[in-house]
């Protein structure tokens, strides 16, 4: 297993000037040995480029890649001893499952009995022991992905296992079983796993640390809780959570906060930074009350939707749309009613030009 350190940037053009010339803006990041990481972001944010730089398929236009302190920037995937699971299952059709799993070890001239033992062990871990002699080609997509993963796991000295959106072709109802399997394997083998996806459920479930990326930049690296509670950048607040964080522009000065002209009293013991701000509050934390209280903002209820496991209430506060969640049993306000939303509370985040300040 290896500690991976990145200190690089990657540009499409030879001498990049403006930010959009970069596939990956200059970044400095390290991945702890044995950690499970996710690179999360919309299509085209540079997450796959970063994965390919780590695997050795792409050489960064500037900077270095280090595995356990050794510079591997120019060395091939084979020399870096990494394993990779691709978007669609990549297996050797003419071989059986056992031969597929044994293939990397056979290429390393590992003695036959050791191969058999190791393959048996990994097959057991992947719940595929009963399929070892079946031809790999005839299996279902999720079983093939497990084989592809198995080819990496059989190598006890594999430095890291990289996943490039591995669940894309898997049926929805099978996805959570494969996620659970990956989590169990990481729990048992303590391998360095790096997982690329645009789906926040996969990222937050799978990884200890999630790198949220947009337009070639890693805007925050943190645990699921940190991303949810304290998003460092408005993009993270928007991207994590469904629906994402509510934002409202505000002006703070001398103990009073005004939102589009409406004053909001700052409750005791809550420090509010001065100047032009953007407030961020998650629908899960936005409380509603019938009467005005310190830290509330008047709003009109526009829509109440019964989404089964919760009720989604959409309100219009001085022209800003705010969403909040109520439990299925709670008594939802009538559409058109005047309500007061606790925009200032312990869970409120304050942003200055998109960056978290308090």
């Amino acid at each position: 297993m290896a500690q991976i350190e990145l200190d690089l940037a990657h540009a499409y053009k030879p001498n990049p000037q403006v930010e959009t010339d970069y596939a990956l803006l200059p970044l400095k990041m390290s991945f702890r040995d044995g950690g499970a990481y996710a690179l999360l972001g919309p299509s085209g944010c540079g997450k796959t480029t970063m994965l390919n730089i780590m695997s050795g398929l792409v050489v960064p236009s500037q900077g270095t890649v280090k595995f356990d302190g050794v510079d591997v920037t120019r060395s091939s995937p084979q020399e870096r001893n990494i394993a990779q699971v691709f978007q669609f299952p990549v297996i050797y059709d003419t071989m059986t499952v056992a031969q597929n799993l044994a293939f990397p070890l056979k290429n390393r001239q590992v003695p036959a009995d050791q191969i058999r033992k190791r393959v048996g062990q990994i097959a057991e871990m992947l719940d595929m022991s009963h399929q070892l002699d079946m031809r790999a080609a005839g299996l279902s997509a999720d079983q093939k992905q497990k084989i592809s993963l198995g080819r990496g796991l059989v190598r006890s000295d594999v430095s890291a296992v990289l996943f490039d959106e591995p669940l894309t072709v898997i049926d929805p109802h099978l996805k959570w079983q494969l996620r659970r399997k990956l989590k169990q394997i990481h729990h048992e083998l303590k391998l360095t796993l790096i997982y690329v996806t645009h789906d926040q459920v996969e990222a937050l479930t799978f990884a200890d640390e999630v790198v949220v990326m947009t337009r070639g930049k890693a805007v925050q690296v943190g645990s699921a809780e940190a991303l949810f509670e304290r998003p460092a950048h408005t993009f993270v607040g928007h991207f994590i959570g469904s629906p994402g964080m509510n934002f409202l522009p505000a002006q703070a000065g001398g103990g009073v906060l005004t939102v589009q002209g409406q004053a909001v009293q700052v409750p005791q013991g809550l420090a509010v930074p001065e100047g032009a701000l953007k407030l961020g509050i998650r629908p899960e934390y936005l409380q509603v009350s019938a009467v005005a209280e310190p830290g509330t903002l008047a709003a009109v209820v526009r829509q109440v939707q019964d989404v089964g496991t919760y009720q989604m209430v959409t309100c219009d506060a001085v022209g800003v749309v705010l969403k909040l969640r109520l439990t299925p049993q709670a008594q939802a306000p009538q559409v058109g009613a005047q309500v007061f939303l606790h925009v200032l509370g312990p869970h409120t985040c304050f942003y200055k030009n998109e960056e978290l300040v308090a």
Binding site: Q78, V90, Y92, M95, F103, N107, R108, G138, A141, G152
Partner: protein
């Protein structure tokens, strides 16, 4: 939901009708005349006698036909044995993308564009000891080479000419098969530390299986009915060393003008082709569907 099945629509027959008319005119009508001739003795346009399967029996017993059929099978198998592996090797060595790839493709495919008799003419000139580069060089090296005199030299020259003419077809097919392999397979192989041979054995060959089946079908069939090139090069000589089925049939039909046996022989020749085609086609379909199932699983 697997991709929806193709809907059944009998109105599609109207779309296929023009093709049926064209090919019927150029295949069924002639075939009927052949069948007609194969069961009659045509003494003169007016007098025809029904002879049943007499001509078929005669043709089956014809020694010369057996010789020609045996030489044809030998030739077709030799063609496959040389051209399939050589074509694959050529495809593997061709550059994958860029202008180089297009340039090599055109150069290699050039021989496929030459009229079949001109191929014969080229090798006729090329192999002559007095004016041909090949013939002249071989003589200079002290090798008494004559494709018009020595039956073995003639047979090998025809074979090499066919290899020169048609190997690019196999190469292009194999190349098309190789190009359909996603890059991820090569990356996975490199990560697994596979040797060059392992990459060929476990990734390239299985993926090329379908196109190689087409190559075998095309090459075997086309070589089985070869006529023009050997006719122009050696005229089937020396003796009957390079007289294959098509030439033997043309000699019988146009040359000696005995229509009955020629028609019977044509039908037998056509049935052999039909049988071989059926076997290879079904094998190809079963491989194709097996291949498609993998793609869907």
């Amino acid at each position: 939901m697997n991709p929806t099945e193709k809907p059944v629509n009998q109105k599609a027959w109207w779309l296929v009708l023009p093709v049926l008319l064209c090919v019927a005119f150029s295949a069924i009508l002639p075939l009927m005349t052949v069948v007609n001739y194969s069961v009659q003795d045509i003494i003169s346009p007016e007098r025809r006698v029904f002879v049943g399967t007499e001509w078929f029996a005669a043709v089956m017993r014809d020694e010369e036909l057996h010789g020609a059929l045996w030489r044809q099978l030998q030739f077709s198998l030799a063609v496959l044995a040389v051209e399939i592996p050589l074509g694959i090797a050529l495809a593997l060595s061709m550059p994958a993308q860029g202008w180089k790839s297009s340039a090599v493709l055109v150069l290699v495919a050039l021989s496929l564009l030459i009229p079949w008799n001109v191929v014969g003419t080229i090798w006729q000139i090329y192999g002559r000891a007095d004016i041909g580069l090949l013939g002249h060089t071989l003589q200079a090296l002290g090798f008494d080479y004559s494709y018009t005199g020595d039956p073995v030299h003639a047979w090998f020259t025809v074979l090499i000419m066919d290899v020169w003419h048609w190997t690019p077809l196999v190469a292009l097919l194999a190349f098309a098969g190789l190009r359909s392999i996603p890059d991820a397979y090569y990356q996975a192989a490199r990560i697994d530390g596979a040797s060059k041979f392992a990459v060929f054995r476990y990734i390239q060959l299985p993926k090329m299986r379908e196109v190689l089946m087409i190559a075998v079908l095309l090459r075997f069939m086309d070589s089985f009915m070869i006529y023009t090139e050997p006719f122009v090069l050696t005229g089937g000589g020396p003796g009957t060393a390079t007289t294959f089925l098509s030439q033997y049939l043309t000699q019988k039909a146009v040359g000696q003008f005995d229509l009955g046996p020629a028609a019977a022989f044509s039908l037998i020749y056509f049935l052999i082709i039909l049988l071989l085609c059926f076997v290879l086609y079904n094998w190809m379909q079963s491989l194709g569907t097996a291949h498609k199932e993998h793609a869907h699983a």
